[in-house]
Symmetry: C2
């Protein structure tokens, strides 16, 4: 028979072997646990939304995957006619909150860990894929949102990445109003502001001259371009940055407001328990999205700046203006977990996880004792020990090689001799030791090896 | 501004409020924990596969969602040209095993809990949706698979649904070879067998006369149709069923083999710890798919037969024949969790879950003490207690009403008076009691209320 090649689609290819999946799941669980620690509530939204919902906030249409039936059908369903896959978790959140406003308690703190899809060119080197997990939290309130919500977000980020133990990291914060005020101070016209910000957003990745040229193309004179570049690109401590901005000459209302917000949020972040070593004010944080209106965040690993930001987000004034009259200010961040996982794996920063969730393999060297093997497995499971029974007919050596390959910590071995003495051999596969125990004491012996009480 | 209506696509509409999502997540965790208890390894596969992969095993093309970009692009990506969403977890598993054969330890025991998509007509009443979760386990070996694997599956099902505590259930098993042998005994020609099985599969849902007429249309004489109907439809105990089949007159090799397998598996299921009350042999279990070649399973809730099977599957001789020359026999089952959840909710069988993962709300009645509220929250979190701080400016009454609505178990309250005495009020929101504690003893008091040690 002609075989079909078992292959994956490009960009839809972050598929793991079971031991890698266990590492990935451990990361997801860690993120989830930390989000819950701060009182965020879980939601999941459907993979496909109405097209007009997805494009409401200006999703890039050529990056959105629409649905259609594989074979022609007489009657198209609604999904094929009107549906497309979500490209982020923010637009679905806006739709969700607008739809369910009356059923939610505000401030609404939600987390969401799901896949999203984007028809971009995949670049494995940059960790850019067409299907990937995002882990989002947002705090949304009606009408008003305290700056304290903006100050709390870094403490959640800090909690997540501290527990992940992937090395030193820094949460860098900035303020969109401040940036706008600076541009205003440089007399950048409103309609050029987005382009200028996009140019500044590339400071970490491009040559100074390239960035300056881009600024000049937007109408900044050579000296002004140089001064703006230097203001944004120079690395300073939080105090130096705030001092520099306070001395900035071309003052204006937007700048004052942004600076005031930034200083207040930066001061409060410490009260939320984030050590000074883990965050800084950095005017070089720009974020591409126009969407943000206040504090913006990026997070970088100090030893791996080339990974770029591993957790980003910001404050916005109105989440769901496309769907509802209710004003819903909010603040949120997103961790691109598939990308982070691929980069951590590459950098060797993933903590080893158990290679199997089951700890004990009951080997079966003699089919006549099948009932005893199965009874032992039941006793172990009843004691809270994940246990597998080797069900195929195979030599003991092959069964133990399976145990090694899958990563079991303990194997139980017994045949005619052992059962004649009512014992089983308990083999500690990590320590490579073995000892016989009366059948009635096997569960306790296994618990001891596994460090259970 | 013209608003977009915040609405969902038909069939892509199983979206929950946070407290329902917590209940759903608890079900997922329960299923996962039980699968891991038996040594199954997790995998996830991409949502989209190559079209030729999905159609290899004869997926129904008009039910498969293909991808395309929402806006025209100069260069189509591979996913838009060649990709479609998976409609089950079995075809991706076959592709996965064929692709990664050399990296997997066999027998390969995998579980997979992910969404699948089917372009069917949604029927909320039947719990049929276009996007839904499946929870699958499969045991796959190379060349040979012991009947013990078939006997183990019901013990996993038993473990899952016992812990779910959704009332009495019965795992009904049958054998495809036996069914084929019976049809052979009734002289049903090979090319009519599928149609006859499809007719018999409807016995629980349709009138006897409708089924008999369908059988007659397939060439069975009136008396034969009646005899076949009665053999399949009559409810018997396991022993009665096996006795009836042993007395069946039109014996043939297929029937003997199927009966032998069925009797052997049924006997072993008990050794795996499944009580007799929870399973039975039932020749009325047919399963539509031609795919199965040995034991087949269905699971029904005794008090809710109208829900149909909540967990089904079977044995197959060759998982991945479309992708590889390696013969990969296996056995597996699937729980349609979205449908099950919707039905359990309807029937009031869902256990109440906490309405928030956070247990404590630190209220903030006086902004001057912000640092103390935040410090208390940090202490509680450090003690393993999920804690939220109310960050908006609001009257205490409003904060407590938020606490009630979200379902917190404890609220902490303190202002000038309390802090002057270095105390905080600990309010037990379930018991509706409150007591002041020295700040240093608050964590212990909260732990006591939450029953933590």
């Amino acid at each position: 028979m002609q075989k079909v090649k078992p292959a994956l689609l490009r960009g839809f290819d972050q598929e793991y072997l079971p031991h890698e999946q266990l590492q990935f799941n451990a990361l997801v669980d860690l993120v989830r646990k930390n989000f819950e620690r701060f009182g965020f509530l879980p939601i999941e939204t459907p993979s496909a939304e109405r097209k007009e919902v997805l494009t409401s906030k200006g999703g890039v249409e050529k990056e959105i995957y629409a649905l259609s039936r594989l074979a022609a059908v007489t009657e198209e369903d609604e999904a094929s006619a009107k549906g497309a896959l979500r490209f982020d978790l923010t637009v679905p959140l806006a739709r969700y909150v607008a739809m369910r406003e009356r059923d939610l308690a505000f401030p609404f703190r939600r987390y969401q860990i799901q896949r999203v899809w984007r028809g971009e060119t995949p670049q494995a080197k940059k960790g850019r894929f067409r299907e990937f997990y995002q882990c989002d939290i947002d705090i949304i309130n009606r009408d008003h949102l305290s700056y304290l919500a903006e100050a709390e977000i870094p403490s959640v980020i800090y909690s997540v990445f501290s527990e992940m133990a992937i090395g030193e990291f820094r949460i860098r914060i900035n303020n969109r109003k401040l940036l706008k005020g600076i541009l205003h101070g440089f007399s950048v016209p409103e309609d050029r502001a987005s382009n200028v910000l996009r140019a500044l957003d590339k400071i970490d990745r491009e040559d100074p001259s390239t960035v300056r040229e881009a600024l000049e193309r937007e109408g900044l004179a050579g000296a002004a371009a140089q001064a703006l570049y230097s203001l944004i690109a120079t690395k300073r401590t939080t105090r130096e940055t705030l001092d520099t901005l306070r001395r900035f000459e071309a003052r204006n209302e937007m700048l004052e407001q942004g600076l005031d917000e930034l200083a207040r949020v930066a001061a409060a972040i410490g009260e939320f328990g984030v050590p000074e070593s883990a965050f800084c004010v950095d005017v070089g944080v720009v974020r591409g999205l126009d969407y943000y209106t206040g504090t913006i965040y990026e997070t970088t690993l100090l030893a791996y700046p080339e990974l770029g930001s591993i957790c980003s987000g910001g404050r916005y004034d109105d989440l769901a203006s496309y769907f509802t009259e209710t004003k819903l200010p909010g603040v949120g961040i997103s961790i691109g977990l598939t990308r982070l996982f691929s980069k951590l794996k590459e950098a060797g920063l993933l903590r080893p996880a158990p290679r199997t969730p089951a700890e004990v393999l009951v080997t079966t060297m003699d089919g006549r004792y099948q009932d005893r093997y199965l009874a032992m497995a039941r006793s172990l499971r009843a004691a809270g020990i994940n246990t597998e029974v080797y069900l195929e007919t195979a030599k003991l050596k092959q069964q133990l090689s399976y145990a090694d390959r899958k990563g079991f910590r303990v194997a139980l071995i017994a045949g005619e001799n052992e059962f004649a003495r009512s014992t089983m051999q308990v083999k500690n596969l990590s320590a490579k030791t073995a000892q016989d125990y009366p059948v009635a004491e096997v569960v306790a012996a296994v618990k001891h090896i596994l460090g259970m009480h």
